[in-house]
Symmetry: C2
Subunit: 291 residues, 2 copies
Amino acid sequence: MLLGSVEAGGTKFVCAVGDEDYRVQTKTTFKTTSPEETLAKTIAFFAQFPELDALGIASFGPIEIRRNDPKYGYVTKTPKPNWSDTDFVGTISKAIKVPIAWTTDVNGSAYGEYTAATLFNEKNDSIVYYTVGTGVGAGIVVDGEFLGTTGHPEMGHVRVKRHPDDLTFAGICPYHGDCLEGLVAGPTFEARTGKKGQDVKSDDHVWDIMAYYLAQAALQATLTLRPDKIVFGGGVMSETFLAKVRTQFAELLNDYIEVKDLNEYLTLPVVKDNGSATMGNFALAMKELSK
Amino acid sequence: MLLGSVEAGGTKFVCAVGDEDYRVQTKTTFKTTSPEETLAKTIAFFAQFPELDALGIASFGPIEIRRNDPKYGYVTKTPKPNWSDTDFVGTISKAIKVPIAWTTDVNGSAYGEYTAATLFNEKNDSIVYYTVGTGVGAGIVVDGEFLGTTGHPEMGHVRVKRHPDDLTFAGICPYHGDCLEGLVAGPTFEARTGKKGQDVKSDDHVWDIMAYYLAQAALQATLTLRPDKIVFGGGVMSETFLAKVRTQFAELLNDYIEVKDLNEYLTLPVVKDNGSATMGNFALAMKELSK
């Protein structure tokens, strides 16, 4: 079987083909430019594989995911220039005539981690995946299905209790100021400290402040969804930082409900080299084919 | 068909029998005392109806809802004296030999509202139900199933951004201080103003403060679950108060995603006279029977 994956990010596209064991055979990466140019490159990549069976696309958003909506398959009102109201799936499917699965980038990653857990003999009925990078987003898989009736999750924009040492920072979200994304997205490093994230030392107090906010996000997801595990991916995350999140999560939860060992409950992605979304897309493509 | 309902609250039990159209035929209410006495009264009530087909129980918690757990059907570690580790379902099922559905009190109410919506020709695939009374809890129904893999939701204990005019109030939750429940449960009126809730005038600023917190809860539920509607029940709620919640919710959301008309999206219970849980229990009993 030959499966395709498009991980459509705001800065780059990763296209890949692989087999039913989720092994990547060929992969290419290119910059996200105009919709016309970027989707043409995507089509050109997959046109090399006429034996392709199905395709999974995980896209930056917001996107329309309700199958009965006339705009199903579109990138909708996005702040990304020129991409608003782009018929992503329609454009691809005119050229590549295979079943196409369509979801958000974070849902794709969530599904990859959900799938990977099974491969590692770790049964998870539900997974939450947060990405913390240029923005903050989350995907949720429960019993093999994505959560969200009227649309996909947008958990990057919840409000959180402010850290006592961070009360004056206004936050950088253009819509909400100090929502979660406005407080912990990558660019907040520069906004708070004048330094880029990679130049901020690991013992800088700003990490504790950000860990406090992510711990609250994990707490919200825990108390709402009671998932098997919560995965944190994205450029801002590291094992050192996640350890801080675990510590603050434990303090906030205060043993109110039982969760498993925090080293297993709050984790980095199991799939290496940012491959979660690609694996998720392969699995979703296969699922789409079996429909 | 004769269906039974037990709404097991921390202060009172409401037992009822009704038909397949969810019409209550007989109902009784008694105080929650010791588990032995209270469950004996429950059994005595249903023993009057040997033709009973199935029973739905919605209980205060925390409770064990995982069917494969040895403690399935138990009230687990509850702060309520004498009730910790009570085999609720086991005790009832020894005397009343019918299929029994078992969930939390708020899940029962959520299911009642989910069911009622259908009766009113209002299709909802997902509903969130918050109760705001002595405590704060929430239940979630998605596509006819309760959400929560490792346990039931405990959304009363999330953290929220503090209102600028409420920064010094420590909150009253014995576990977390200023979690949502610690900031908006009924007894916070007395803690903040020295007056009981029913004596606090509707133009008192404390209502705006509490509306701000509930609006954040509604925002979290919205951005996480993207539900069809969010219902607010419980003794603290009223249309006047909910109107304030809607206003603050709109400000917080800032049109980031589309939700339906707020008067339909954030509502009081459709089922009157606190009957949501009873209707939910009838519907769950019928569902259990059809398994």
